[in-house]
């Protein structure tokens, strides 16, 4: 009997240790943990912060200034590779930004409970990733100081942007997405801001007071908030799909071998999720490893869950890649064939193979194993590798594919110039923003975790301990 009891207790303890939702802490304690994770700033933080700030200042702002003053000649773009790493980075960062919405909106809609602790971390990635995407696309412009011409603003001469151009659609889609995702980031933040306001002093209190918008936690407020979040969760999903589809149209709508492919829309979306999930898991591993109390909130179960998603997405990506390749190759257009051959056997062929290894071989080899995919360092390394692979994929689509066109007399390779510091600069600036945010807003949506923990219960049916979740909304 005691054996049984011991066994049941043991199983229960195991479940509670494994699942955050079953391992509740007192509210006050949890709130305090989150507050402490924000307030706790070590010298290491400042060192890294300083280095990143220096890299951003040089790589992003100074280099960009040089490029604006000198012209795009300081970059590596040429004829025929008119688009280079700038566009690669744009697509890359928009891809990164997809994971946030995917995790918080889709998983919220489908009520995947494991999402709770890391929705905000993912949403932050969305917002900050889009900032980098914006930087990259504006860097790319020859006369960035005139970029406002792309906005449809009323003017005396009735000059409007050209709505035939995929770039105009792009601009609209990205703007919509950045606005929508920022609002969607902000809404669930309100209760946490209120929590933080009540537990801080000084400038923080002022800041949180403003951001909390006077939230007091009344039933009416919660109802409104839930409604708003639901609306946004549903609304942001089509926006998310549309954004990357439209980004893909920049390429697919062009009359170029290798680009005008009808499958680019979903292919790009899945590619975005691929890199986005990889980025989320990397960020989670870093947060868990570096910030106080995060080991409580982010547990191997989360890595396991995201790992499964990554595996499925990797398989889907492989399917789309194969489909795209197959259709283009089978089409038999001589320029497309030339291009596909160039991808594999040209001077940058190594990148093509590296892309397949990073995006397919390594994820499949590691993520099938539950144990391995629950190991934070391992699975986050896979996340990094996937991101490298996805960056390669975009590099192959943009500068390498641009090398080959229908005028062989103009074929020429691309050698990046100032794009490299600029690209590193965006990466550093992303990390910098993220670090700053991690000390200013709770990376863990405390109320969502608490809500989940309240809903979860362990019940005994006979000898079996069973997890139940009550419907909250």
């Amino acid at each position: 009997m005691t054996d049984h009891k011991n066994h049941a207790e043991h199983a229960e303890a195991h479940l509670r240790e494994k699942h955050l939702m079953l391992d509740p802490l007192p509210r006050g304690r949890m709130n305090e943990m989150v507050m402490e994770s924000m307030r706790h700033i070590t010298w290491k933080f400042w060192v890294v912060f300083g280095i990143l700030a220096a890299i951003s200042a040089y790589g992003l702002f100074y280099s960009w200034g040089v490029m604006i003053a000198e012209g795009l000649g300081v970059a590596g773009v040429n004829r025929p590779v008119y688009w280079g790493i700038f566009l690669v980075n744009t697509v890359f960062w928009i891809g990164i930004s997809h994971a946030g919405t995917f995790i918080s909106a889709i998983l919220r809609v489908f009520k995947a409970e494991f999402r709770r602790p890391f929705t905000r971390a993912a949403e932050l990635m969305t917002t900050f990733g889009l900032v980098q995407a914006g930087f990259s696309i504006f860097m790319h412009m020859g006369r960035v100081w005139l970029s406002y011409w792309l906005m449809p603003y009323p003017n005396q001469r009735l000059l409007w942007p050209n709505l035939h151009s995929p770039l105009s659609w792009d601009l609209l889609a990205i703007t919509t997405y950045i606005l929508g995702s920022t609002m969607y980031l902000f809404l669930p933040l309100i209760p946490d801001m209120a929590m933080a306001r009540d537990r801080s002093t000084g400038w923080r209190k002022t800041l949180y007071k403003i951001l909390a918008l006077g939230f007091r936690g009344t039933e009416g407020e919660w109802t409104h908030l839930r409604n708003a979040m639901n609306i946004f969760a549903f609304a942001i999903i089509p926006v998310m799909f549309s954004v990357h589809t439209i980004v893909s149209w920049d390429f697919a709508a062009a009359t170029r071998p290798g680009w005008s492919s009808t499958i680019f829309g979903p292919y790009f979306v899945i590619g975005a999720l691929h890199s986005g999930m990889g980025a989320v898991i990397t960020v989670l591993a870093i947060i868990r490893g570096t910030m106080k109390h995060m080991k409580y909130f982010i547990r191997p179960e989360h890595f396991d869950a995201i790992g499964k998603l990554m595996l499925i997405i990797s398989m889907t990506w492989a399917y789309f890649f194969f489909n795209d390749y197959m259709v283009q190759w089978y089409g038999g257009d001589k320029w497309t064939k030339q291009l596909l051959h160039f991808h594999e056997a040209g001077p940058m062929g190594w990148m093509w193979f590296a892309m397949l290894v990073c995006n397919v071989v390594i994820p499949w080899a590691i993520l099938w194993n539950p144990k391995w995919r629950s190991t934070p360092w391992l699975v986050s390394t896979v996340g990094i590798i996937i991101n490298v692979g996805m960056w390669f994929e975009r590099y192959i689509i943009v500068p390498i594919s641009l090398t080959i066109n229908r005028m062989p007399f103009t074929w020429r390779m691309y050698q990046p110039g100032i794009e490299i510091p600029l690209g590193i600069g965006t990466l550093a600036f992303f990390a910098l923003l993220y670090m700053a945010a991690s000390k200013l807003i709770p990376l863990i949506p405390v109320w969502e975790v608490q809500e989940g923990q309240m809903a979860h219960e362990l019940k005994k049916f006979g000898r079996e301990t069973v997890v139940t979740v009550s419907e909250l909304e």
Partner: protein, 743 residues
């Protein structure tokens, strides 16, 4: 040519007529002709948005194409061809277009300068986009300059004074000739690198041997059906490229006849060879043999007695010596024999060999066989220019060597140099620069700070061609006798002065026979005298009542020409009975590669300082801004040389280092290299760019005295360095480099 004038031409000419007055008032020495008028009616060049067109003559080479320069408010904007000019019929080559980059070149000599020999004439500025004026400041007044010239004329004995002049302009040459005739100073010697590479002496010598007249032959490519070109690069720089290109176009696509064929015999495919229907890579030096063999085979096909000139040649032997298959020779001979309009042209590297004269004779004999003398599609003598009694050719390289020898022997105490850059153009082995050391006083009239100007004691800069008066005799290319007129199209940009004016004024200062020899107020008066001598000629393109009106029309139309075909037929009587030595050429030097220098089709000898010419891709290699060595892919493979590898080319006379262009259309035993770059001065765009093949030339000549520039063998040594060539073409798209294809 067409009698019809287009409306545009009419307007243009009407404009020019009025403009003539305007330009006469506007430009430097012409200010004497000012007719003062109230400013109610502004000169037309003062109107906003109105262009004024001035007819003049191109000075980028000596061919003498007529230009019409579009100017706006006193600035020259655009070169257009003079549509009525019989030589170029409104067309120009790339160099003619870029002449404005000479006029507005950032590095010009801006005024009279006295300087120590070898000193820089402009700051070393390798940045092509550097905006600073960095030319040497003029440090003399023109009065001092004139006195210097006058002193030089009087201080030395007449026979100690020499004039070295370029192939253009002719009016200055005439003026100096007059001066020399009257005062006993040495007759001016003319030279130009283009003339050297065209082997003009060889052509006229061959004409003399075969036809008894030392004249410049004209090959009517346009009227022919089959053209055999033995190395003649007539679509690039040869003699009169614009006119020959027009001929080529009508060879191919004239409305009234079948499409003609071009067969090019040369070891390295030139831009002309690239356009040929058949390109025959023969062993350098065997051109004469091949021509004779074709003549023999063609005679056999035609039947009848074997002409003496072809009788001793053995086609089978020729085939083995030249590397051209016997079948190919037979096929070409058949084409030649069966054609009603067969023509053979000698030129280019074929003449620049030890047996160059034999090549010219053998090829002219082929024409005799085709019996095309004086017939459409055949060989003519170019018309002599108006008021010219005999063809004057520039000095051959041999004659230049004698000239340099005289300099070295101290025979010249004062040397005047105009319009030529011998330090750059002459073979380095002749050591013109060294010879200058034995000349007490060197006075250059250079417009640009070139290598020769840098070695002079004084530089009294002449105007740029577009700021100059003058005329140029059209030597070849037109069926009409043409005296092409030049006039300033803009006011001189700098404090320069026409060399003719300088000489006239200095002669006045010098007094005595000098003053009597040049009794003119200025250059324009001299010109008017020369030009108005044509007033009495019948059948001219225009006539006038008095000299002033005649001169005005001369300016307005851009020259004067006779309206009757001035070409004459060479007498073919003895041409087939010559004894042409058909031996293969001899080659100097020890290397294993034949060496073929060729004039860069885009730069020619003096284009390197014009940035847009530098940025024009070479027609065959598409290389810009540099020199290259062409090498067969097989040879490169054997030597383990890749494209852009820098190699050292060693000849008996010197060595240069330059990157390799792996060129698919060159014999494996031959390397080739363009002439035109490798300047050590001459402005920021030219200096320090590429290398000069003249550094490799030894002092070997053919029987006519022309330089055997292609009569050398060179060694190739690897250096291990790499220097990427700037090309327009894609290495991937054109040569498959890096596409992953199997080699």
């Amino acid at each position: 040519m067409s009698e019809k004038f287009s409306r545009r031409d009419f307007l243009k000419l009407a404009g020019m007529g009025a403009a003539t007055t305007a330009v006469l008032t506007g430009c430097g020495p012409a200010s004497r002709y000012v007719k003062r008028e109230p400013y109610q009616q502004m000169p037309e060049y003062n109107y906003n948005g109105q262009s004024t067109y001035y007819a003049t003559t191109c000075r980028e080479c000596a061919a003498g194409c007529g230009l019409v320069i579009r100017t706006i408010q006193g600035r020259a904007i655009k070169t257009e061809g003079n549509a009525n000019h019989p030589l170029n019929l409104g067309k120009t080559c790339a160099r003619g277009q870029a002449t404005l980059h000479g006029l507005y070149n950032p590095n010009r000599v801006r005024g009279p300068i006295k300087h120590a020999r070898g000193d820089r004439l402009y700051a070393k500025a390798n940045d092509p986009f550097n905006d600073n004026f960095d030319d040497a400041e003029p440090n003399m007044s023109w009065d001092e300059a004139l006195q210097t010239v006058a002193d030089a004329l009087t201080k030395y004995k007449p026979e100690e004074i020499g004039f070295l002049m370029g192939m253009a302009p002719d009016h200055l040459f005439d003026l100096v000739t007059d001066l020399a005739n009257a005062t006993g100073i040495n007759a001016p010697v003319r030279f130009g690198a283009l003339g050297m590479f065209e082997s003009r002496a060889t052509l006229s010598k061959a004409a003399e041997t075969l036809f008894g007249e030392a004249r410049m032959p004209f090959f009517d490519v346009g009227g022919a059906q089959v053209v055999l070109s033995f190395g003649a690069n007539f679509l690039e720089t040869w003699l009169s490229p614009v006119s020959y290109t027009r001929g080529f176009a009508s060879l191919r696509q004239a409305e009234t006849k079948m499409r003609g064929k071009l067969v090019q015999f040369e070891a390295r495919m030139s831009a002309t060879g690239g356009k040929a229907d058949e390109w025959v890579p023969l062993r350098p030096g065997t051109e004469a043999l091949v021509a004779l063999a074709i003549g023999r085979l063609a005679s056999e096909i035609r039947g009848g007695a074997m002409p003496r000139v072809f009788s001793s040649v053995d086609p089978i032997d020729v085939a083995s010596k030249s590397g051209v298959k016997l079948e190919a020779l037979e096929h070409i001979a058949a084409m030649f024999a069966n054609s009603t309009g067969a023509l053979a042209i000698p030129g280019g590297a074929a003449l620049g060999q030890s047996n160059g004269l034999a090549v010219a004779e053998a090829v002219l004999a082929l024409n005799a066989l085709a019996d095309n003398f004086g017939k459409p599609g055949g060989v003519y003598f170019s018309p002599l220019a108006p008021s010219q009694t005999e063809y004057q050719r520039p000095a051959s390289a041999k004659e230049m060597q004698d000239f340099v020898q005289k300099m070295k022997d101290g025979k010249f105490k004062a040397l005047f140099i105009h319009g030529v850059n011998p330090v750059f153009e002459l073979p380095a082995s002749m050591d013109f620069k060294g010879a200058l050391a034995n000349v007490e006083q060197v006075i250059s009239f250079a417009t640009f700070p070139d290598e020769t100007a840098a070695e002079a004691d004084f530089i009294f800069p002449d105007h740029h061609g577009l700021e100059s008066w003058g005329y140029q005799r059209v030597v070849t290319g037109s069926d009409l006798p043409v005296l092409s007129g030049a006039q300033p199209v803009v006011a001189p940009y700098y404090d320069t002065r026409a060399a003719a004016d300088v000489l006239i004024s200095a002669a006045q200062l010098a007094g005595g026979s000098f003053a009597q020899a040049l009794p003119f107020k200025d250059e324009v008066e001299f010109l008017r005298g020369k030009v108005s001598a044509l007033m009495g000629e019948a059948n001219g393109s225009f006539s006038a009542m008095d000299a002033v009106a005649f001169m005005a029309s001369f300016q307005q139309f851009g020259g004067w020409w006779k309206m009757s075909d001035g070409r004459t037929a060479p007498s073919a009587a003895d041409a087939l009975n010559q004894n042409v030595k058909g031996d293969a050429a001899e080659f100097a030097g020890e290397g294993e590669f034949f060496f073929i220098p060729f004039v860069s089709p885009t730069l020619a000898e003096a284009g390197a300082n014009k940035p847009w010419l530098q940025e024009l891709p070479d027609p065959t290699t598409t290389v810009m801004w540099n020199t290259w060595l062409e090498m067969n892919p097989e040879t490169a493979h054997e030597l383990h040389i890749e494209y852009d590898d820098v190699v050292r080319v060693v000849s008996e006379a010197g060595a240069v280092e330059l990157p390799v262009y792996v060129y698919p259309a060159i014999r494996p035993d031959t390397v080739a290299m363009p002439f035109g770059q490798g300047h050590t001065a001459y402005g920021r765009y030219a200096e320090g760019r590429g290398v000069n093949p003249a550094d490799l030339f030894g002092g070997h000549f053919n029987e006519a005295g022309d330089l055997a520039f292609a009569g050398m063998k060179v060694k190739i040594e690897k250096t291990g360095k790499k220097r990427p060539l700037s090309r327009l073409e894609s290495m991937m798209g054109v040569y498959g480099v890096g596409l992953g294809e199997e080699h």
